[in-house]
């Protein structure tokens, strides 16, 4: 899969020609030209100005900013729904926009027919959609309602079906506009899990959201827009922190936040500094991401820098649930790796073939220390990851399992 987005010097201006009347009238068109020279220029609204952004294959970029900052316009430009007034927008691969899910459904016809039409609008052939129909119906969890007219659907069913179609088309680029905030909790969870799995497969994503925790767990990079201009662009944590402090108006009584706290690093990090941890990344699939589908493989990559060569060293990781419960821990010493020398910068990865954690947020401590416990660099809450799952498993452990039964009768699907 290959999807990429390139914005170069993009500017988008909306024009309103009629001032008093909301809709343009013929009269205006007929007499406008002559009057226009004397009257005020048509009202303009610069929705986006001077936007440069490159989103590479498999990357996830979030766009944050207050209402009216141009976030949705950005998505519509990327989706080819709008065209820039100037500058260029290039998009490679099949694009799907998750904007107002199910917006194109026709109320009078059945869900099945609507799925067909929506799928074709998104670029699938008829047969392809029919092949995916069971999967779509299954994900939307609407059962036999699929053959009922959409007008009798609940709003939840509407949105679920809309999401199911949109993700079923196997996009290379997925544009997401606040869709995760529309459904109920169970739906949101399944959507998030699905998106995490798509990220694993290398789908390029652009997310617009006011849920800043989601942004930091979802995106590698973020773009902070205000009134159509870029305020900040960079790693999601840093950009979100900047946005948070702007929203709080620079006051000091803001909520403590892990993203910020991690950057401040005070009381969260200690050690002699002989060896320094440069970065910790969670990698799932091909991409760095903090959103990890439960049961899927992942790796933690620790990059370090050596200031003072050492011969006694241990790399360790501890997993905590967000409420502080220690979930597990492992280090190179316990795993039987005997240190010889640590003289040059490098990286260490801890690889999990299958991360069998229940869905939720987890905080990771990462450390490099001597075998007697002397820390070179101990980093508390170095990374926060979010494990997703379609089912809300309780507790912390979500191993693959099945039921074998003799006796009970079950409702078959």
């Amino acid at each position: 899969m290959r999807g990429a987005i390139r914005f170069a010097g993009v500017r988008k201006v909306y024009r309103w020609r009629g001032r008093r009347t909301r809709h343009e009238t013929l009269k205006g068109a007929l007499f406008h030209r002559r009057l226009a020279r004397r009257a005020a220029a048509p009202e303009e609204h610069v929705a986006l100005d001077d936007i440069d952004l490159e989103v590479g294959p498999g990357e996830a970029v979030a766009i944050v900013g207050p209402n009216g900052s141009g976030k949705s316009t950005f998505l519509k430009l990327a989706g080819g729904i709008l065209r820039p007034t100037s500058g260029s927008v290039e998009v490679e691969g099949r694009v799907t926009a998750l904007i107002e899910l199910g917006a194109g459904f026709h109320p009078e016809i059945t869900g099945r027919e609507n799925v067909l039409i929506n799928g074709m609008l998104l670029g699938l052939g008829r047969r392809e959609i029919e092949e995916r129909m069971p999967e779509i119906v299954d994900f939307a969890q609407i059962g036999s309602f699929i053959d009922q007219p959409v007008k009798i659907y609940s709003s939840g069913m509407y949105v679920r079906l809309g999401f199911a179609v949109a993700v079923a088309v196997d996009p290379d680029v997925l544009l997401i506009d606040e869709v995760l905030s529309v459904g109920d909790e169970a739906f949101t969870r399944r959507c998030l899990d699905r998106l995490a799995r798509m990220r694993q497969q290398g789908v390029t994503m652009v997310l617009v959201s006011h849920d800043l925790d989601l942004v930091t767990s979802f995106a590698d990079r973020a773009l902070y827009l205000e009134r159509g201009r870029v305020v900040a662009e960079g790693p999601a944590d840093a950009v979100v922190a900047r946005y948070r402090s702007d929203v709080a108006g620079g006051s000091d009584d803001r909520q403590p936040d892990l993203g910020r706290a991690r950057m401040e690093e005070e009381g969260k990090r200690w050690g002699t500094g002989d060896v320094e941890i440069v970065s910790v990344e969670s990698i799932s699939g091909s991409a760095t991401q903090r959103l990890i589908p439960s049961g899927s493989p992942c790796r933690l990559r620790i990059r370090y820098r050596v200031k003072q060569p050492v011969e006694d060293f241990v790399f360790g990781i501890a997993w905590h649930r967000i409420d502080g419960v220690l979930v597990g821990g492992h280090n190179t010493d316990l795993d039987g790796l005997v240190p010889r020398k640590l003289a040059a910068d490098g990286e260490v990865s801890c690889v999990y073939d299958s991360l069998q954690l229940a869905p939720g947020d987890y905080l990771l401590d990462v450390a490099v220390h001597a075998r007697d416990g002397l820390a070179y660099d101990y980093w508390r809450d170095a990374v926060r990851v979010r494990v997703t799952s379609a089912v809300e498993w309780p507790g912390v452990w979500a191993p693959p399992h099945r039921w074998e039964c003799q006796g009970p009768e079950w409702e078959s699907e």
């Binding site: 729904i81 709008l82 194109g104 026709h106 009078e108 929506n118 008829r126």
Partner: protein, 266 residues
């Protein structure tokens, strides 16, 4: 890309959307698709009663008048129905246009095709009525009727072009809807639908004005084939075709002009 090529590329989607249009229209109605047949039948019945027992309009070659009128009215209903719908098709499909990347041209095309289907479903009624009239000895059967697809070509082109233009203009100018209604009314009476140009007792100036109406040749070509039972003169066919091609070309130009700004205005 030209409109024609774009429409051809999305033909599968258009076919599905036309189906949706027809399905949605008859969903929850007891007789369903039969209405497409029943509507013209009832119309014809009413005309027959009114123009046989109440009024007796007479035109050379216009007998029996109910059939004369009906054969002129059918293509007109196709045209006017599609053009009226054109003024709302893009606004109605606004949610699709604004959320999904899809070429806006397909919606006017769907409007035209849906109305064309209705028209084709009405043709059996016309055929049956002509057969009955022939059996009753009221009017010779028009054997030229099989040429109807040919006579429809200028109609489809003209309707297509007009629908393209009206649909795009309606998005920007909401008064189009009212205006179109009145223009259609004007053209209805300016076209030889309820009368024929030959038998018209009007001042020659008005006659010349009426002859300038581009739709006149289309009505004539169609009615000659399905009612009179003759093939119109070569010039009339040529005029009708020219009207169709020019309408299409103009409509496509107008649509292209407004295309980029449609989504914002919808």
């Amino acid at each position: 890309m030209t409109v024609q090529r774009l429409l051809w590329r999305h033909r599968a989607l258009i076919a599905v959307l036309v189906r949706r249009e027809l399905d949605a229209r008859y969903r929850a109605s007891f007789l369903g698709f039969f209405w497409s047949l029943l509507n013209p039948l009832l119309l014809l019945a009413v005309y027959t009663v009114v123009f046989t027992y109440i009024f007796h309009p007479r035109f050379p070659g216009g007998d029996p008048y109910p059939l004369f009128l009906f054969s002129g009215l059918l293509p007109w209903l196709f045209f006017s129905g599609a053009v009226l719908d054109a003024s709302i098709t893009l606004v109605d499909n606004g949610p699709l246009l604004a959320k999904v990347m899809c070429p806006p041209e397909i919606f006017p095309a769907v409007t035209v095709l849906a109305h064309l289907v209705h028209h084709l479903l009405a043709l059996p009624v016309l055929l049956a009525a002509m057969a009955v009239a022939a059996l009753a000895g009221a009017h010779p059967f028009p054997w030229t009727m099989w040429l109807v697809p040919l006579a429809l070509v200028p109609w489809i082109l003209t309707t297509g072009g007009t629908v393209l233009a009206v649909s795009a203009l309606s998005v920007h100018y909401r008064d189009m809807r009212d205006l179109v209604g009145h223009l259609l009314n004007l053209f209805f009476f300016a076209s030889p639908i309820i009368y024929s140009l030959d038998g018209l007792q009007v001042p020659s100036l008005l006659r010349r004005v009426l002859a300038l109406n581009p739709l006149a040749s289309l009505v004539t070509v169609y009615r000659d084939v399905v009612f009179t039972g003759e093939i119109s003169s070569f010039e009339t066919w040529l005029t009708a075709l020219a009207v169709g091609v020019i309408s299409w070309w103009l409509g496509a130009r107008v649509f292209a002009h407004y295309r980029e700004t449609l989504v914002e205005a919808v």
